[in-house]
Symmetry: C2
């Protein structure tokens, strides 16, 4: 399973700046670049083939396998960017908390962080020493792919959710309980996470990542006040440690938080499918690049419907500063044909 | 377990209009009325006591038990309103689909609605004939309680989610698939559901419900376009069949949909905790009553924090047309003391 060059469908002609980077710089593009969150994953038979032999965490910790899995959707669909195969929770493993992915279950921390001394015990990370696989995976994938490769990390609030709850949750009772009952300790946790995440992103940039994305998947579990007090400054602190590549901030269930997002200081914002992308651009300011925002479940629809939805989003987003993506990750049962239809709809668009 | 009169803490002095109805009419009130979604339920030991002997559906189908369970939180906390104990899915059972609540699992329709002929097979309901327990429960609870009793139903989109998926879901792939692949059939389903729901609500008003609430819990799974095309007109159609009592529309994850909510034609709107309630009032128009919107998980915090959050919401909502509530239902592990602190914080408020 040594990585091979992808079909060059999405590759950038020599000497040209890749579409993704032009869009993120607000420069004119003939059509928006397109990639999809979780484009490497279970909906692909070639990914399931690898995963039938190797566990999820073992793929993450093996640079060659992570590279191969990152390249798979690039070969098949010719996306304009890849995102390195990894998991937002790996830095927490590096900080000293055991992380498990049970069969058919989500992630679990058998020893969740619940007390001030649990927080003290979290080790600062040195990404080069502690997380070499993802850095090496970025290096070799970038050479092999011909398109920009994104690095990523989970935002501090979202990481705190898993770390304190110990597993996925609808309600995130434990992190909110700590936030309300012991705000001083919770602040220390958020600071530690922000610094670790920022350093992890910066190491990915230094390893060659063309852009990085901070996933704040659970920011939408917060009230506006709690978002502004906790998630926002922590994400800002993390991103302030990252220089040398465009930094995207993705969140969801947060259409009401748009007026404050700019304070995070990212270079572009990814929005979910509940958000009107035209309105997102208005609120963020016309020059701020946006990414999104097709409903991932729209990929289960007929090709003509997918095409209409994709073109509607492109029109609403406008010609400058739009990276086409889903509003959240591809789901495991997504039909390949739906992804093909969406990619084809983006490729066929022509800003005149 | 015969219903007994609640402690009259929340009861209205004879001759006065209850706080809830004054707030819903936009009339001056000394403080907002307070009730909480899922105030009757698993977080109460007296409820768990009953449920240790009787299944959830059997409580719903027994007017005396439904009355008793509705009265429990009124006795304990002195809420300003009760909501009749029932389930949004009961009309679907009356329409002919078997409904199950497994131990520790959510609701399941073992035969989900997936085809045009499945939709044809759904029977129109006559609420008086098909759902007598809830109507009788409203009658006897109202007499026994001393405070207004709300009836309720699930909105057509939210009911379609469960009926087509067959169970709860994060992604609602099956209802969206039907919506995209066979919009004509899906429209017939939504029309049938809207008429059933509207008639069910109207029957509850005729049985004595002082107000009714339409729960569109999953409207926030839709894009703005799909919300406007599907969920909104169906909710509007349902509410248009209801006369004689204030009609509330509750939804969540829909802060971005506020500009269109008024088209539903409800008399008041319930908003989730992600929404700034001051902004909700601005967008809905100052005279439109709103309900909400404390984060249910805030009830796990210390009393002083709960009090500050409650007072912040009351201030932001303003003196006229605000019904205090949570932004979603009480969770099963919620501490009694948290609910007490929130109720006390509302009661201690004084608009001068």
């Amino acid at each position: 399973m040594s990585p091979s060059k992808p079909q060059a469908i999405g590759a950038t002609p020599p000497g040209e700046t890749p579409l993704l980077l032009r869009a993120l710089a607000g420069e004119p593009v003939p059509r928006p670049p397109v990639w999809m969150m979780r484009q490497a994953g279970r909906f692909l038979p070639e990914y399931r083939e690898i995963r039938s032999k190797v566990s999820f965490l073992d793929v993450c910790h093996n640079a060659d396998l992570a590279c191969e899995v990152t390249l798979q959707p690039l070969r098949r669909f010719g996306f304009d960017a890849g995102i390195i195969f990894s998991d937002i929770l790996l830095p927490l493993e590096a900080m000293g908390r055991k992380l498990e992915f049970g069969k058919g279950m989500g992630p679990r921390f058998p020893d969740p962080v619940r007390t001030a001394s649990d927080i003290d015990s979290l080790k600062p990370i040195d990404p080069v020493r502690d997380m070499p696989a993802v850095l090496r995976a970025i290096q070799i994938t970038r050479e092999a792919s011909g398109v920009p490769i994104l690095g990523f990390a989970g935002a501090p609030w979202t990481l705190a959710c898993y770390l304190v709850e110990g597993q996925g949750s609808k309600n995130w009772i434990e992190p909110k309980r700590m936030m309300m009952n012991d705000p001083a300790s919770f602040q220390r946790l958020m600071d530690k996470l922000a610094d670790a995440v920022g350093d992890h992103l910066q190491a990915q940039v230094e390893a060659g990542a063309d852009a990085v994305q901070l996933f704040d998947t659970w920011a939408g579990a917060l009230s506006p006040e709690d978002f502004r007090r906790w998630a926002l400054p922590a994400a800002q602190r993390a991103l302030s440690r990252v220089k040398g590549a465009p930094r995207l901030y993705f969140t969801r269930d947060t259409a009401a938080f748009l007026p404050w997002l700019k304070d995070i200081g990212a270079d572009a914002y990814g929005v979910d499918w509940r958000t009107d992308i035209g309105r997102a651009r208005e609120v963020l300011g016309g020059a701020m690049p946006v990414q999104g925002n097709l409903d991932p479940i729209a990929l289960y629809g007929p090709a003509h419907d997918i095409r209409a939805r994709v073109h509607q989003i492109i029109k609403r987003a406008g010609p400058l500063g739009h990276v086409f993506n889903l509003g959240h990750g591809i789901t495991p049962q997504t039909p390949i044909s739906g992804v093909e239809a969406a990619v084809e709809a983006v490729r066929s668009w022509q800003w005149t």
